[in-house]
Each structure stands twice: as C-alpha cells, then as structure tokens.
C-alpha cells in the first residue's frame, strides 16, 4: 500500500507576535481542504518546550482543533518536518491510518533574537559542543573557510543568497520577499568570520500542513511519496572536514541515481540554513564548480529556501514538501515542474542527520 500527498496549506513565515502555536495551527488547517477529515494527526515541532513551556504539543493542538483522533508529535531537530512525513507515510502504508494530517508548527520570535539563537543552537550536542562555546554559525563559518581554501570564492556563497531572495520575491508565503545585491554583503553583520547575516537563514514563525493518504484523491491533485530515507552522520568535529556533508551527499546521490534524475530538470528543495552547506552539497554532486553558476538549476529552491522563504525550524520540512507538491501539481512562483519527480532535502545542524524525500506525480 502506498502513501500519497493529497492536499496542504501554508501560513506566511513571519514574526507572528499576535499568534501562538494553536492560532497558527488553526489558521493553516482552516485554509486546507481535507486537513481535518483525517483519522490521525502528526505534529512536527522542534522547540515548544523551550519557546512556549509546552510539553505534548500535539495533544493540545488536537484539542484546540476539536479533534479526537490519535495524535503524536515528532521532533528531530531541523529535520522534524521530513521525519513527520516519513512517519505519516508509514502509518498509512501499515494501515494504522487512512488519512493523516501532518502539521508543522513553530514559534520562535517571542523572545529576543539572542534567546532564539540559543534555542536553535541546541540542535548541536549540548554537553560536547554548546557548553564549549560552539554554535551553528561557527561551524558554518569553519565550513566556509574550508571551501574557500578549495578555491570557492566569497561571491559564490553570496550568489546563493542573491538567488534565494530573487526566488522568494514571487512566493506569497515567504518571509523575505525582496531582492538583495552582492553589495549587501559588504555591510552585513558578521556572525562568525567570514560568515555574515546574509549567509544565514531567516528565523520566523510558521505553520504548514499536508495530508498523507493511503490512496490518491480522485477529485484533487495527488503525488506519491516514492522514497524516504535518512542517515546519521558523524559529529562535525570528528569528520575529515566540517564541510564534508556525507549523509546529505550520499542520500541525494542515491536518489538521483536510483531514479535517473538530473537536478537541472527536477524541482528540489535543499536545506540551506547557511550558504556554505548547499554549495558544499551541490559541489559534491558535481553540479557546481568554483564559478558557482546556478543558472542551469531552474527548479532549485523555487521557494527561496530557508534563506529567504524562512526557517520555522520544526515546520520547515512541511513547507518544503508542500512547495514541491505545488510545483508538481500546480504552480509555485509561476513555475511548474517539467519532471514527474521532485526532491526534498533536510538536515539538522551541520548534517548531523540528513533526510531525503522523493515525490512523484
């Protein structure tokens, strides 16, 4: 028995000071046809214990939505969203559920940025990395320095951010819907030399939903969840190089080879928390040289990616899945995928765990 995505909806990624977890969850399910006609709910959220003092968020959201069906909450750092979709696919494939609502929701902007940054840093190992003063942008900066030693120019990382902002400008639910220029980097705040704020994802609140069903919907567009895989990588400090994102590279390479896919013609949402990471991944797959010409990758992060659509941590994976679903079945940013296949990639921290999902229309 297969698993199919038969619908979904997203809220704008933003600083929603007037809305909490429950409000965002309600807003997105209200906009989603079929989202509440389900017999199971999977809630994806990474930080509610820290940002809202809330344990068992799934149950409280189900109560708020007036549902009595089974609910479970999934947390796997930044990959929570794809982990939740993976679980939902297993639930319908095993017969435990007929239709599963997968609801990603995150609130991260209720505190000063430095507090949110600390919460986000806990994606790393608290005892062996965070206590030692190591934060996610420190790793990203070290990875950037390694890549620059390989001959990758600073402008290459900037070009990723410029492209993501261009893409996000036409995405209604994106957080940063404006273009930036290469000059923007000159005055950008440094996070960890040489990494700047413009090399970083945009942190925002968000909610996104998809419905996973055991059969295609005859009345609506559907895509099949063809492949879902995950792999855990060594801690970054134990690798040959921090920029070796082996779990991500391996899973994406496997996906492309198994289904004969070419990223130049396939819609793909890559996890781009910091610009060195997608650059490292695309280089490892043979799609980028040191010139970093992204022009042939037309369907790459059409959403604007974490960089510009925004990164509501535990909800981001659901946004990515929804966006590829839209590219396969309708339009996103004025584009429709020419291929029947679409890829979603997510990772937590510097590739501590990587997940890849392949959808087929």
């Amino acid at each position: 028995m297969g698993a199919y995505i038969v619908g979904g909806a997203v809220a704008k990624v933003d600083r929603h000071f007037d809305r909490g977890y429950r409000d965002l969850a309600y807003e997105v399910t209200k906009e989603c046809s079929g989202c509440l006609d389900v017999d199971y709910i999977v809630v994806s959220s990474a930080l509610p214990e820290l940002t809202a003092h809330q344990v068992d968020l799934g149950t409280h959201i189900a109560q708020w939505l007036g549902r009595r069906v089974p609910v479970i909450r999934v947390e796997s750092g930044e990959t929570s969203g794809l982990a939740a979709v993976d679980l939902a696919a297993s639930l319908v494939a095993s017969g435990r559920g007929r239709k599963v609502l997968v609801l990603g929701v995150e609130k991260v902007t209720d505190y000063p940025t430095y507090t949110a940054n600390y919460f986000y840093s806990l994606m790393l190992d608290y005892e062996f990395e965070v206590l030692r003063g190591v934060s996610p942008p420190a790793y990203a900066a070290l990875a950037m320095k390694e890549l620059m030693k390989d001959g990758v120019r600073r402008e290459c990382f900037s070009s990723w951010a410029v492209r993501m902002h261009e893409n996000a400008a036409s995405i209604p639910h994106a957080m940063l819907r404006f273009k930036i220029s290469y000059d923007s980097f000159k005055d950008s705040q440094v996070l960890a030399e040489p990494l700047t704020l413009h090399d970083s994802f945009a942190l925002g609140d968000g909610a996104a939903a998809v419905v996973v069903s055991n059969s295609p919907d005859p009345k609506a567009s559907s895509v099949e969840i063809l492949f879902s895989a995950a792999e855990v990588e060594l801690p970054a400090y134990s690798r040959e190089r921090i920029s070796d994102l082996n779990a991500s590279s391996k899973l994406l390479k496997l996906s492309l080879e198994r289904y004969g896919l070419d990223l130049r013609r396939v819609a793909v949402e890559l996890h781009d928390s910091y610009t060195p990471y997608p650059i490292a991944i695309l280089r490892s797959l043979g799609y980028l040289d040191s010139e970093c010409d992204l022009s042939e990758l037309e369907y790459l992060n059409v959403s604007g990616g974490l960089k510009a659509r925004g990164h509501p941590i535990g909800a981001t994976g659901i946004y990515q899945v929804y966006e590829v679903f839209k590219l396969l079945t309708d339009k996103l940013g004025g584009k429709t995928s020419p291929s029947d296949y679409g890829l979603v990639h997510s990772m937590s921290g510097p590739d501590n765990v990587s997940r890849v999902l392949i959808l087929r229309r």
């Binding site: 940025t113 430095y114 940054n117 600390y118 986000y120 840093s121 005892e127 062996f128 990395e129 206590l131 030692r132 003063g133 190591v134 934060s135 942008p137 420190a138 900066a141 070290l142 320095k145 390694e146 705040q189 440094v190 996070l191 960890a192 030399e193 040489p194 990494l195 060594l234 801690p235 970054a236 400090y237 134990s238 921090i242």
Partner: protein, 135 residues
C-alpha cells in the same frame, strides 16, 4: 536553577581531563570518553587521557549573539587536533594583543568557566585552549 551539578559531574572526565576513546576494533580515536566508537559502532573501546597539547586546524571569530553579551562576548572557536590525533572543538582564550591564532598555532588545554547559573549558583567549568608560549 538552570544548570545541574550532576550533569557536569557525570561528564567530568571529558570536560575536565580531556579523556579520549580508542577503539580496539577499528583502531580509530575519538574525542571524549565514550562507551561506543562513533566510527564503527564497536563497544570494544579503551580510554586514555590526552596530554592537552595540539594545533589549530581552523579558527573563526564568533560574533553571533546567542546569549547576553555579558555571558558570551565575542570569542574564537577552533577545531583543534590534539597530538594524540583526535579532533575537538572549543574556544581559544588568553590570546595576547600581539598574538594571532591561525591554522597551525600550537595550543594547550586549560580549565576555564563555561557557564554559571547566577551570582550564587552553579558554575560549569571545562576545557578551553590557549596559545602555547614557545619562548
């Protein structure tokens, strides 16, 4: 109380003494006192204490704000390869105004404060690194 004395006490051999793990199955060494080799998954491991000397492989100056400025001022964070062949990450401290930390800089482990609860609360200590004086 946000910090637990028990949590830091449990990992004292990794945080205070730089104990490292040597795998008897694959032969690889890994940072910290571990029960299982992170490279091959074998539980056939032994432990040894690092001399605390090493060299900087890569370093970055971190200005990212992830706590109040009092708690976390700008810092140097580096990947350090210990002389035993193990890589760890950590802060570089005690850098003189006339010193530059870069790839290859020799460093030694020192015990420094990691975090504290409040003026009267628990203080976490652990290993950081400082440039080795060669003269």
């Amino acid at each position: 109380m946000k910090l637990s004395p028990a949590q830091i006490w449990r990992i004292r051999e990794s945080q205070y003494r730089l104990v490292i793990t040597v795998c008897e199955s694959c032969g690889k060494k890994s940072a910290f006192k571990r029960s299982v080799c992170p490279f091959c998954g074998s539980g056939n491991v032994k432990h040894m204490e690092s001399e605390g000397l090493g060299k900087v492989l890569e370093v970055t100056k971190v200005l990212y704000r992830w706590a109040s400025s009092d708690e976390r001022p700008p810092s140097l964070v580096a990947v350090v390869e210990l002389d035993e062949g193990v890589k760890v990450v950590g802060e570089i401290v005690g850098v003189g105004t006339d010193e530059e930390v870069k790839e290859g800089t020799r460093v030694e482990a020192v015990l420094r404060r990691y975090a504290s609860d409040d003026p009267y609360g628990v203080i976490y200590y652990g290993i950081k690194f400082k440039p080795l004086k060669t003269a």
